[in-house]
């Protein structure tokens, strides 16, 4: 199984209890930890702030981890596409393929005590936060073994114990919520930060500016990350925003523009942002990124974009290809070894899907669970209350 293959490269000590799908950097030989300095694709652009250096420190093992993690995410999303088309996933399914560098770079710069909250394009963030692949697929298919026990669906993945607060369906709502998480972190004096992710579509939401105003007034350790994939559903950014320079939209809140397809740039920016926010309050990061799929599985994604644009980005800026080139040019691994990793990842995903498929749908009694934490023994009713009712514990 995939675990055995991974175990060969990974010393037993760093395999955690729940066998995380995203592995910590390998530590099998000192060469793996040899620092490498890489320049980001483009320099950072700052708004009312001195941007960090574009020279990023990394290691061979970190690059390999990035490659594996992003490949896993890519595979997961493509597999979800097939599952949706074969009607095993219903309703909404918003895929993240193309944007993996943001999830992976962010995770590399923080700890599980920091918090992340995002909107509905959440599968990969969930995975990055230590989410379980089987639970992800089971949730997508509405099964009992799902991370939300089948009650949430694609847009409502959570992993509170490792600082992932969802998974939200209402565009923009996650930003004030994220500022609230930061408020709590400051209140409890934890020395941690919250990253609230939103898209270029949500960037125009009023509540975002309300939350940003309060965060700036109260010096909350909140970092707002605009994952600018340039389209809010079918509306290009220039049609929705008078000023699509989202990193500047904070006005009095400084911002940084980052190449979101470059995982090292993302990591550098997020590390910088965390240090900044702990001392000074909110910061905006605009990640220039791209989604290969349409807005959701109901959107082909080609009526408002040209196929040339999509394939152009895939050729020039794909985040996984960028890391592959780095690995090859630094002689960290051979092309074959990387292909093997991709094969392993593919198998891992296939196995997870098979396992998830075996999980049954939730028990009918689950219709009435978790309405409240404390239900006071009150009755709740089904469609025909004379037929179906339950007592809420």
């Amino acid at each position: 199984m995939a675990a055995a293959a991974a175990a060969r490269r990974l010393p037993a000590a760093s395999l955690r209890q729940h066998r995380p799908l995203l592995l910590r950097p390998f530590a099998s030989s000192s060469g793996d930890q040899q620092p490498i300095t890489v320049e980001t694709s483009v320099p950072f652009t700052g708004h009312k702030i001195e941007p960090p250096s574009r020279s990023v420190e990394t290691t061979p093992s970190e690059l390999l981890t990035f490659f594996r993690d992003m490949s896993l995410m890519r595979r997961m999303e493509i597999a979800a596409d097939s599952l949706y088309k074969s009607k095993l996933i219903r309703g909404f399914c918003h895929l993240y393929d193309g944007q993996e560098a943001v999830a992976v770079g962010l995770e590399a710069s923080i700890t599980k005590k920091d918090a992340i909250i995002t909107a509905y394009r959440d599968h990969c963030i969930y995975l990055a936060r230590g989410g379980n692949l089987v639970e992800a697929f089971a949730e997508l298919m509405g099964r009992r073994a799902g991370c939300s026990k089948g009650k949430g669906g694609s847009m409502h993945f959570y992993k509170k114990e490792s600082g992932f607060f969802g998974g939200h369906g209402i565009v923009g709502a996650q930003v004030p919520l994220g500022c609230g998480l930061a408020f709590a972190q400051k209140y409890i004096k934890e020395g941690t930060v919250t990253f609230a992710l939103y898209g270029d579509g949500a960037a125009n939401q009023g509540q975002l500016f309300e939350a940003l105003n309060i965060s700036a007034l109260w010096d909350l350790p909140a970092i707002l990350i605009c994952e600018n994939n340039h389209y809010g559903m079918g509306t290009a950014e220039w049609r929705a925003a008078k000023s699509p320079a989202y990193y500047k939209r904070g006005d009095y809140v400084p911002g940084l523009k980052v190449d979101g397809m470059d995982v090292l740039a993302v990591k550098q920016a997020c590390k910088f942002a965390k240090e900044y926010a702990l001392k000074n309050g909110p910061l905006i990061l605009e990640m220039d990124t791209y989604r290969y799929h349409g807005h959701s599985m109901s959107d082909p994604g080609s009526t408002y974009r040209t196929r040339d644009e999509i394939s152009g980005v895939r050729q020039e800026r794909d985040p996984i290809e960028r890391v592959r080139k780095l690995i090859l040019s630094n002689d960290i691994a051979s092309a074959n070894e990387l292909k093997n990793i991709e094969k392993e990842v593919r198998k891992e995903v296939d196995d997870a899907i098979a396992q998830a498929k075996e999980s049954p749908m939730p028990d009918p009694s689950d219709l009435f669970t978790n309405v409240y934490v404390k239900g006071f023994g009150v009755e709740a009713f089904g469609a025909d209350r004379k037929e179906v009712k339950a007592v809420l514990p």
């Binding site: 939300s148 509170k160 609230g180 709590a184 309300e210 934490v373």
Partner: protein, 378 residues
């Protein structure tokens, strides 16, 4: 004069000052006042004091509780409910917000996700509409969608319903709106005891609670028993209170209308109709057991509410009784509610837009077949 003095303190129409004057006159008329109607401050409490002390004690007991809203801090609260709290707990726990309901309600919910226990004040619940997405989609539904991972121990509180002369945009009752949503709890205190016990319960509750106060009740004084003063005093959520026992007709009411219902019951008793007045206290969960038990006893029901009639609280109560106690009804259920119009400003129109005691009396008589029968259609 004596009749007024004997009536329970805290009825909606009489302000404390008028009652005090009445008592003064009764006293000077020559100790006709029975001893038990003492007016020593210890046994009386205004709703404002009840809310203030409840907030104070809960903040003292649990450092995770904090208060957030417009003017709650330096202004001492728009209605002085949070008086003294900023001074006592500091600006980290009593936070003045900008006028941005969507923003600060969302921040409150996010803080609750993380494990804090926010009390978010809306200056009136009319302004909660700016933030309603966070109450419903971010707060109410999270525990369910996350299968229990993300609970939201938050209280949204503030004045609800009509005040006096504040016009259409500042007078709506939101009980029916919020009580519609599974995942929320909706409480409507009437007396000082209600306010104290229910607010404490709400703050301690692990689920999102919408706590609907009433501006006109803040200054009302109520007699309270000694146990109400205890810092551990708490009322159960989801349980109604029989404010007045009766035999012939059940009158359900919440918030300010409880006072009106009690007055109506007094008037009805003089005409030989014994009305049982139920103070709902909790709109969600609704105490269907108490309501049905009462109707099974009296066989007649009048529901009273201040809010708009269509799809209101009374409609739900009526349906509950039909489902569970149909055979016990001797008359159709009567429904008294606010007029089906936006609240007008002119005093006479405003009076027509909100239930009056006469309306409740008339409806109760109808339920008892004691009113003038309607002419049959030709």
């Amino acid at each position: 004069m004596l009749g007024i003095a004997r009536r329970k303190v805290g009825l909606g129409v009489f302000s404390a000052t008028i009652l005090e004057q009445a008592l003064q006159r009764a006293l000077t008329a020559g100790s006709v006042l029975p001893k038990k109607y003492s007016t020593t401050a210890k046994e009386q409490m205004t709703v404002r004091e009840a809310l203030n002390t409840a907030l104070d004690e809960e903040m003292s007991a649990d450092p995770k509780v904090f208060l957030m809203g417009e003017e709650v801090g330096e202004y001492q609260g728009a209605y002085k409910i949070s008086k003294g709290l900023l001074e006592k707990y500091g600006p980290d726990r009593v936070l003045d917000t900008p006028i941005t309901e969507a923003g600060f309600a969302g921040i409150g919910v996010g803080a609750a996700y993380y494990g804090l226990r926010p009390v978010v004040e809306f200056m009136t619940f009319n302004f909660s509409m700016q933030a309603i997405d966070h109450l419903i989609n971010s707060a109410a539904k999270s525990n369910y969608m996350s299968a229990g991972q993300i609970s939201v121990p938050i209280v949204f509180r503030g004045p609800n319903g009509a005040a006096a002369g504040v016009g259409a945009q500042h007078s709506q009752c939101f009980a029916a709106w919020y009580a519609h949503v599974p995942g929320l709890k909706v409480l409507t205190p009437y007396s000082a005891e209600d306010a104290r016990g229910l607010l404490k319960a709400a703050i301690r509750d692990p689920d999102p609670v919408v706590f609907l106060e009433n501006e006109l009740l803040y200054g009302e004084s109520f007699p309270v028993s000694a146990e109400v003063f205890d810092s551990s005093f708490c009322l159960p959520i989801g349980k109604a209170k029989i404010e007045r026992e009766g035999k012939h007709v059940t009158i359900t009411a919440y918030s300010k209308m409880v006072g009106y219902a009690l007055q109506a019951a007094e008037i009805l008793s003089k005409e030989g109709i014994s009305a049982e007045v139920i103070n709902l206290r909790s709109i969600r969960p609704l105490d269907r057991d108490a309501i049905n038990a009462s109707v099974r006893k009296t066989n007649r029901l009048v529901t009273v509410e201040e809010g708009f009639p269509q799809h209101g609280v009374g409609a739900e109560i009526c349906m509950s009784v039909i489902e569970e106690s149909f055979e016990y009804l001797d008359a159709p259920v009567e429904r008294i509610a606010g007029a089906d119009v936006p609240m007008p400003y002119a005093a006479n129109l405003e009076r027509m837009a909100v239930p009056q005691v006469d309306d409740i009396v008339r409806a109760a008589k109808r339920a008892c077949y004691r009113s003038v029968p309607m002419a049959a259609a030709a």
